[in-house]
């Protein structure tokens, strides 16, 4: 019985070779794309699950919501939190900390040092994160203040071999430590990205020094450490969470103007496996994945499968009239409808399995490049990993059944008497097939709109928003500081258009607050303090909307350079957000008025708010930030405060950037012995959006797959229809139709579904993409043109696929066409 079905299926397949190949290729492509997306999504959801007991380990985070400002998420906490948590919650079995070091490691021979990600870790770190040791004993590896642990990558980089136990390493400028153990590299699917674990017990480790600082009375809370807690096996996380509020209120001390600081703090406990899936937070070790993007990708995978199935359904039903006789004869011979259905379902499953083989091969071939692009280590061991192998089979079977259900039902419902009487069968399925084509085109158009919009938004984020020559602006490393002896000598070079000294807060690398006392009453306005130099506005090309920028002409502007300890406030420039928050109805209205505010400054070696003092608002500038478009630019006050300047920003004059940089470097080396380091603004911006860029590339590629599939399906259908319509066209020609008439006739037939598809796709795409854009504080608008272009492109694809074939058919001599069937 099977042999008989098989013979029919295979010969039918071979008889429509081109059409079959197109569809099998499409199905293979669909499987391959869906498999890659599934592997990628699985990888994103697999983060940190390799760590034993990961379901009991939590990363402690914070949500800080100062009055009048939007909430900030932090994945770092104070160095004192681990101990306090362990003390307050008996459920916590172990608490351990990690703090970034930024120190360079070097062997004695090589003084340059290697760029390795090193972290200070508590001695019990490997108790919570039991990494596999390659050499040495992990249990006491970090208990000595001068012993460290390397990953095999770090060991190779420093010593060109893995077994480096006992070797000595120079850490930073003056410490020397011994390698106690070498552990396996952390896999790419971990939120940790450590190469080197330094002993947190060392006297100069921030885990020690910051803890001491934080313990001082009146110390302002600062967040510098990653804190992990592991609960006991029988503990309930809900119990712990329910008592966190009370813990916060007693643990976080201090108040601002009478409001306890604790009120703005909420501690969070994120299960280790969910750390990678959280919204972005300040201090993230790796950019987390945007779960919405993952869902969108999974959606695209489903769309790809839907389109591939659609092609398949088209093929099977288009062939229906050819197979009608077979159905009729089989039914006359006593086959039930169910038996016929099973036959055709089986046939579709068979096609599915046939398409699976090239798909698996394709995934194997593409995966190395895919991994390279994503910097992942995604494996595709379907033979050794049963879930993967079964998943593949399951995908195929599901797709085969989904694709086969309608054709099987449709074919098996043929009435034998109608078919066998020999009356020519007019396939009444043409409407179903037309709707399928419309649906496929709608998907194609919607994906085009989505892809365009995603790429436009990325372009906007990277290029349009700053409107700066980002390749001409250089952010010097904070290690260089901002020596005036150097900046004053710079103009003699002639290659630097402007240089400015700024604080980290100005560029958004950290956050220093200002506290405005609203002139119109009703609470304080908390904002960002941006400590700048006169030339800051020059470097970043910022023009005032109203008022004048800071200038040496006005003594009050430069108050703090003359007297660091003054209680008075210097003149400020505020951004539009601040003007709005302070209740001014227009920028011009704000200019010249006096704002009452509190300034953070270093008093007795610690950052503290000074008392309230009024100063003049000199100008209002547009909201500006080199940070992510995902974050709203909050109220910001610019003022001159050399005490917190931490880095220089250069703007070159547009000539050869490399040469300019070289001459600046040369000049620097005359001033200082420390190496000249930093990065261009475009590098910074690209790094900022690295994850978005990767995601958009993936999205674009897979959308392209879906688009190719839809086009392929249409091509197949065009070939088939043109073949079947040969007779009709021949007749039309006999009746006197010209070639152009035929082309128009065929063109219109295929253009019509595209026009319908636009009506469906446009509103859907608009709504979805509008929502996506809302996720960015600053975004482009979806232009009407995007829709028109997407629609036109779809139409072009439709017409192009049809045109070639139509030409052939239309050119045929009428007699040949009539003989054809």
């Amino acid at each position: 019985m099977l042999a008989n079905y098989f013979a029919a299926a295979i010969r039918n397949l071979l008889r429509n070779r081109a059409y079959t190949l197109i569809n099998l290729f499409g199905l293979s492509l669909g499987f391959a794309a869906a498999t890659l997306i599934a592997l990628y999504a699985r990888d994103e959801f697999s983060y940190d699950r390799f760590i034993p007991n990961h379901d009991r380990i939590y990363l402690v985070g914070e949500v800080v919501e100062p009055p009048g400002r939007s909430a900030m998420r932090l994945s770092v906490t104070s160095t004192t939190d681990a101990e306090a948590l362990k003390f307050a919650f008996p459920e916590i079995e172990t608490a351990t900390r990690l703090a970034p070091s930024g120190l360079r490691l070097s062997t004695k021979q090589d003084n340059e040092g290697a760029a390795l990600d090193s972290f200070w870790a508590d001695p019990n770190f490997f108790d919570v994160f039991p990494l596999r040791s390659i050499a040495g004993d992990l249990a006491n590896a970090l208990s000595q203040p001068d012993s460290l642990v390397l990953t095999s990558r770090a060991a190779r980089q420093l010593f060109s071999r893995e077994d480096a136990v006992g070797e000595t390493v120079r850490v930073g400028p003056d410490a020397v430590m011994r390698v106690a153990a070498v552990v396996e590299n952390l896999p790419s699917n971990s939120h940790l990205n450590c190469d080197v674990f330094l002993p947190g017990a060392a006297s100069f480790s921030p885990l020690v020094t910051l803890t001491a600082e934080q313990r001082q009375p009146g110390a302002l809370r600062s967040e510098n450490a990653y804190t992990y807690v592991r609960l006991r096996g029988d503990a309930s996380i809900d119990d712990v969470r329910s008592r966190l509020r009370a813990f916060t209120d007693s643990h976080v001390r201090g108040d601002v103007n009478g409001t306890p600081i604790a009120k703005s703090y909420t501690f969070t406990l994120t299960p280790l496996a969910d750390v990678h899936l959280q919204p972005r937070s300040i201090g993230d070790l790796k950019p987390p994945v945007d779960v919405r993007v993952l869902h969108a990708l999974i959606g695209v995978a489903l769309l790809i499968l839907v389109v591939a199935c659609g092609n398949f359904i088209s093929m099977m039903t288009a062939r229906a009239s050819r197979r009608a006789v077979e159905v009729g004869v089989r039914k006359a011979a006593g086959a039930t409808q169910r038996q016929i259905m099973i036959q055709f379902m089986g046939e579709c499953l068979f096609y599915g399995l046939l398409a699976l083989i090239p798909a698996v091969v394709a995934v194997e071939l593409v995966l190395p490049a895919f991994n390279g692009f994503l910097r992942r280590e995604i494996a595709f061991d379907y033979l050794t990993e049963p879930s993967l192998g079964l998943g593949l089979i399951g995908l195929t079977v599901l797709t085969g059944l989904a694709a086969g259900a309608y054709p099987a039902l449709y074919l098996s419902r043929f009435k034998p008497n109608a078919v066998l009487r020999g009356t020519t069968l007019t396939p009444q399925s043409s409407r179903a097939r037309q709707s399928l084509v419309v649906a496929q085109f709608a998907i194609l158009i919607a994906l085009l709109v989505a892809t365009f919009t995603v790429n436009r938004q990325i372009h906007f984020a990277i290029e349009d928003r700053l409107r700066l020559p980002t390749d001409q602006i250089y952010l010097a490393s904070p290690a260089l500081g901002c020596p005036t002896s150097f900046t004053d000598a710079l103009p003699t070079l002639g290659r630097v258009k402007a240089v400015t000294c700024v604080s980290g807060s100005t560029l958004g690398f950290d956050h220093i607050s200002v506290n405005f006392i609203s002139p119109h009453g009703g609470g304080n306005v908390n904002g960002r303090a941006a400590q700048v130099d006169y030339s800051f506005f020059d470097v970043f090309g910022i023009q005032p909307i109203a008022g004048r920028l800071l200038s040496p002409q006005f003594g009050q502007d430069d108050l703090l350079r003359k007297d660091q300890s003054t209680a008075d406030n210097p003149t400020i420039v505020i951004n539009e957000a601040a003007a709005r928050a302070l209740g001014y109805s227009s920028p011009a209205e704000a200019v010249g008025t006096f704002a009452r505010w509190q300034r953070l400054s270093v008093i007795d070696g610690r950052l503290q708010f000074r008392g309230q003092s009024s100063s003049k608002i000199a100008a209002v500038v547009p909201d500006f930030s080199i940070g992510s478009v995902r974050d709203v630019v909050g109220p910001t006050a610019y003022y001159i405060d050399p005490t917190v300047f931490s880095r220089m920003v250069f703007r070159f004059d547009g000539g050869s950037v490399q040469q300019s940089l070289e001459s600046v470097r040369d000049l620097w080396e005359k001033h200082s012995s420390s190496p000249f380091q930093g990065m261009f603004l475009d590098q910074f911006v690209n790094a900022l959006y690295e994850d978005v860029l990767t995601q958009s590339a993936i999205f674009t590629w897979f959308s392209a797959v879906a688009i190719v599939l839809a086009a392929l399906g249409l091509l197949g259908l065009a070939i088939f229809t043109a073949e079947r319509r040969t007779k009709e066209i021949g007749l039309r020609k006999v009746m006197g139709a010209r070639r152009t008439d035929i082309l128009l006739f065929l063109g219109w037939r295929f253009a019509r579904p595209v026009l319908w598809a636009n009506l469906i796709a446009w509103p859907c795409a608009y709504l979805v993409m509008q929502r996506w854009l809302q996720g960015f504080a600053y975004h482009t608008e979806i232009g009407v043109l995007t829709f028109v272009i997407a629609g036109a492109l779809a139409l072009a694809i439709a017409l192009a696929t049809v045109a070639g074939h139509a030409m052939l058919v239309a050119r045929a001599k009428p007699m040949e066409a009539l003989r054809y069937e």
């Binding site: 050819r322 039914k331 006359a332 006593g334 008497n417 066998l420």
Partner: protein, 228 residues
């Protein structure tokens, strides 16, 4: 063996109602060779389809081998006709994608028979129509007469009690037509009841009985003394 009682079959299209069969009563006895004649469109094929259970009547009663099947569902009709009815069509209706042996085998697929037995039955049927040496040809590679003989082989391979043939010679020249008719005669003599639609008076006269139809009605029922 077959008994039609006041059978009507009407086709309803959007505006017209055609009575393809209008109050037909007819009895076919076991072992009979019956020919149906009549002008085009008078309802011959419809009658044959109703007799063969691939179409059901609008009204009336139909006893098929002792059972009332007029109100049966399609599923039940399928089970009734399985292995009991063989069909031969005017336009052969061979499956293009299957070769000669496979085409014949189709009739045996749904009666639950072991593969080896199917093989021998197919070989036997092809032997009987004289096409054993063509078993691996595709239908397109055969002449019209040969194709119709394959169709006959397919109809008789299940050893049906009833064989229905709708203009089996309509698309054949006289020599081929005669050969097919000889075959049907032999099958009938071996005990199979045959109902055949034909436009050829000569072929009709090789049957034992001729039923004449006009506008969906049986107008004449004529017994013939078997000559040959």
């Amino acid at each position: 063996m077959l008994k039609l009682d006041r059978i009507c079959k009407t086709y309803r299209t959007s505006d017209v109602e055609t009575a393809a069969l209008d109050d037909v009563s007819l009895e076919v006895r076991a072992g009979e060779f019956l020919a149906i004649m009549g002008p085009s469109g008078c309802g011959k094929s419809t009658l044959l389809n109703v007799l063969g259970l691939i179409d059901s009547p609008t009204s009336g009663a139909y006893w098929f081998m002792g059972e009332d099947v007029a109100r049966c569902s399609e599923e039940q009709l399928t089970l009734h006709r399985r292995a009991r009815v063989g069909f031969v069509f005017q336009n052969f209706n061979l499956i293009d994608d299957l070769d000669v042996a496979e085409n014949v085998e189709v009739a045996l697929l749904y009666v639950g028979m072991a593969r080896a037995e199917r093989r021998s039955r197919v070989a036997e049927a092809l032997e009987r129509v004289g096409l054993k040496h063509r078993e691996h040809h595709m239908p397109k590679q055969l002449s019209g007469g040969q194709q119709q003989r394959v169709a006959v082989a397919r109809a008789l391979v299940t050893r049906p009690k009833l064989l229905l043939a709708d203009e089996p010679t309509g698309n054949l020249d006289s020599a081929n037509g005669d050969a097919v008719l000889d075959l049907l005669g032999a099958i009938n003599r071996a005990g199979t009841t045959i109902v055949m639609v034909t436009h050829s008076a000569e072929h009709a006269h090789r049957a034992g009985r001729i039923v004449h139809m006009l506008d969906g009605r049986v107008v004449e029922d004529q017994e013939i003394a078997v000559a040959c």
